[in-house]
Amino acid sequence: MVNYTFKGGIHINSPHLAEKLVVKQVPPPEQAVLLLQQKVGGEATPCVQIGDKVLTGQVIAKTLGRYSANIHASISGVVSAIEKRLIPHPSGINGICIVIDSDGKDKWIEIGKYDQDFKNYTPDEVIQKIHEAGVIGMGGAGFPTYTKISNVQDVNTLIVNATECEPGIMCDDSLMQEYSSDIIRGTEVLMYACGSYNSIIAIEDDKQEAYQSLLMSNHNDNISIVQIPVKYTSGAEKILIKILLGIEIPSGEFASDHGVLCQNVATVKAIYDAVIYNKPLVSRIVTVTGSAVKEPRNYEVRLGTSFASVVMQSKPNSNPHNIRIGGMMMGVDVPSVQYPICKITNCIFVNNIKPKSSVQSCIRCGQCNKVCPVGLLPQQLFWYAKSENIDRAMDYNLKDCFECRCCDVVCPSHIPLVKYFSFAKALHSKQTIERQKTDMARERFEFKEYRIERNKTERTDMMAKKKEELKNKMAEDKAQKDKILQAIVRVERSKKG
């Protein structure tokens, strides 16, 4: 047990603890819809065309830039469409997807030669393999793993984030129970790839079975498995680093600046598959839970399977539902279940719709600043966000809020504080851009004024100069004429004389 902890945070009872944590395998779907864009970065470029036959594990879209990931066919069949489809996003936006119709065979592509001893590869080759397998941060961040690893230099500690602190999610829990030795091995691969000598696997102390199986599988002295007390937001990267290492990383800096690399435990498993077996990322474990399902449990699902077909297996009731993707706290609500499962889909909450508690006035009771893990004053931020006094909100460190929603949960007035904060942040960036624009416009205008003024003075100066020159010239001419006249007079005089 570590002594370190962090200020703030909340305890929430997990709404539905699955009694059976055994992962249920879901057969490959009839149709897979594979989204080209991950949570961050751009879209991958498709390298197949409509009508092409593809095999499971075949690359169908390639990385573009450092912030996207390769996409592989998750079933074998025929590419039936490359088009915009609704993607799991609260605002119901579209994204380009490759649709594959199954041939029912689930035939895998020939997987090249692989070497089970990863030390036969160079670290760069390992990172390249991770890249090719299309591994991204599977805890929900969706950041391409190869970019994250190659961004860090001099890693002294690798942290494997197995906290799964969001109440309700349990996919990592069962992953750890079923694949504990793979995870340990994956951690070793990752340590090798990033050149770190130490690693810590952090796990919340309510997951005893998972902890025990990791302990049993671990024979490496450089990997320590650490239990931390259950408290929500312990799994947020910076908070976890504070808990484990006692380092507080300020906003604007990254873990990599402090020689720390953090990876989610499911990502580590995907890395293991990629490096040891050349297996691309085509499936993941998803938790289906919530008050409206009879059998909350974990499913291993091919990517691109529709939410609906997985949710159905958990026997939802027939009432209208509220669907949330990701955790109970930081997840996003989506209007329906007509979405494909993506690499980052760790949990689907299916809840009965609860009547909304009516919002009351903020009485500045201060319950929110007590739970803020960052040490902000949400009540003040709310006040300034509401009055759109963004500068003042920034003075109160608005940008440090990572929207964990602890304040929302404890607010006795039911104020959706985080919504106000994300609104204020958006307003701030808009204002910043506008300010830059007006600054630029003003500078341009001022320069134009200056230029006109300068031209004017230059012209008058020039005119004056020319006038002067003309005058001098005229004077000179006159002198010349006079001289000539005098000469003529002299000549005439001499003639007379």
Partner: protein, 317 residues
């Protein structure tokens, strides 16, 4: 920490429950007056609030049900003399709700504690009625008579007098010294103990945070202690400061009003401490016998400044 309260109304209710002991003690010593004042004040508060919400075209039921108007009424009713005439409470509560709360935008937007604003207004405008306190148990009929009889009731003179704080102040001004005076009041001590216990209940239920009461009491104790070190015969001793007047009501129920108090942990300490100092200063050197309302209102003004400069340390900075 887990979620403490389901709603703001629940917090307000907790505060009202916590007041019961102190009110009970007041009733035990001074009789029915306090009960009538509280009922009257609550009715006035709710009516005035409803009218204003109606004018502002806001949902009435929603705002009334948060219990804040009723609480303002109750706090003011407890603060004024229990035998004050009915119009005192009507004017005071109306002023508190209208000028102290609604004109600033309603619950949560008021910079001053509404009940104390109402109290200060009454004290300045009607000093006679506001300094005529009951000195013995007043039965139902008597209380009804003094409160609701518009004409001056001669009975009031027999029932009333100055408070102990007032008395001590006048005696000291006349040149007497502490050892010649009785600066103790059984009734007020019990009332203060009642509010103290209620306050401890609020602390235990985490409705209020420990910083304001602790700093407030420290402010009183330190200032009073220093003064009595200077001259113990001319200044009220510490224990009398704590057990006379509205000290405990102020410490646990009025200064802790979250809307008008400082909201940062460090700020709450400064806020409470300043009020504590000011109360002793006003009681000792000011023109009024008690100083709770003025001290709190004065420090309310400084809250935005205190909050700004006492922001907690942000993660990583």
């Amino acid at each position: 920490m887990i979620k403490m309260f389901d709603s703001t109304s629940q917090m307000m209710r907790q505060v009202i429950y916590a007041l019961i002991l102190g009110i009970g003690a007041t009733y035990f010593f001074l009789g029915w007056g306090i009960i009538m004042q509280i009922i009257l004040a609550m009715i006035v508060a709710i009516v005035v609030e409803s009218v204003f919400l109606k004018i502002r075209k806001l949902p009435i039921k929603h705002a009334i049900s948060d219990g804040s108007a009723a609480l303002t009424g109750i706090l003011l009713a407890i603060s004024i003399p229990s035998i004050a005439p009915w119009w005192i409470v009507v004017i005071g509560v109306s002023f508190a709700i209208i000028f102290g709360k609604q004109l600033y935008g309603g619950l949560g937007s008021n910079p001053f504690n509404p009940a104390m604003l109402g109290y200060a207004f009454l004290l300045i405008s009607y000093p006679l009625q506001m300094s005529t306190w009951a000195i013995e148990f007043v039965n139902f009929g008597q209380a009804f008579d003094v409160i609701f009889n518009i004409n001056h009731n001669p009975m009031i003179d027999a029932l009333s007098g100055a408070t102990r704080l007032d008395d001590v102040k006048n005696q000291l001004a006349l040149g007497k010294i502490m050892s010649e005076l009785n600066a103790y009041s059984v009734a007020q001590s019990w009332v203060n103990i009642g509010f103290l216990l209620g306050g401890l209940y609020l602390l235990a239920r985490r409705v209020i945070f420990w910083q304001i009461p602790t700093a407030f009491l420290s402010g009183i104790i330190l200032t009073a202690f220093l003064l009595s070190m200077v001259d113990s015969e001319n200044y009220l001793p510490v224990q009398n400061h704590l057990m006379l007047g509205g000290t405990m009501l102020g410490v646990f129920f009025i200064a802790t009003d979250p809307v008008s108090a400082s909201t940062t942990p460090k700020g709450r300490l400064i806020y409470g401490f300043l009020i504590g100092i000011l109360i002793v200063v006003i009681r000792t050197f000011g023109g009024y016998p008690d100083g709770i309302a003025f001290a709190i209102l004065l420090v309310n003004i400084t809250v935005p400044l205190i909050d700004y400069y006492t922001q907690p340390k942000v993660f990583g900075k």
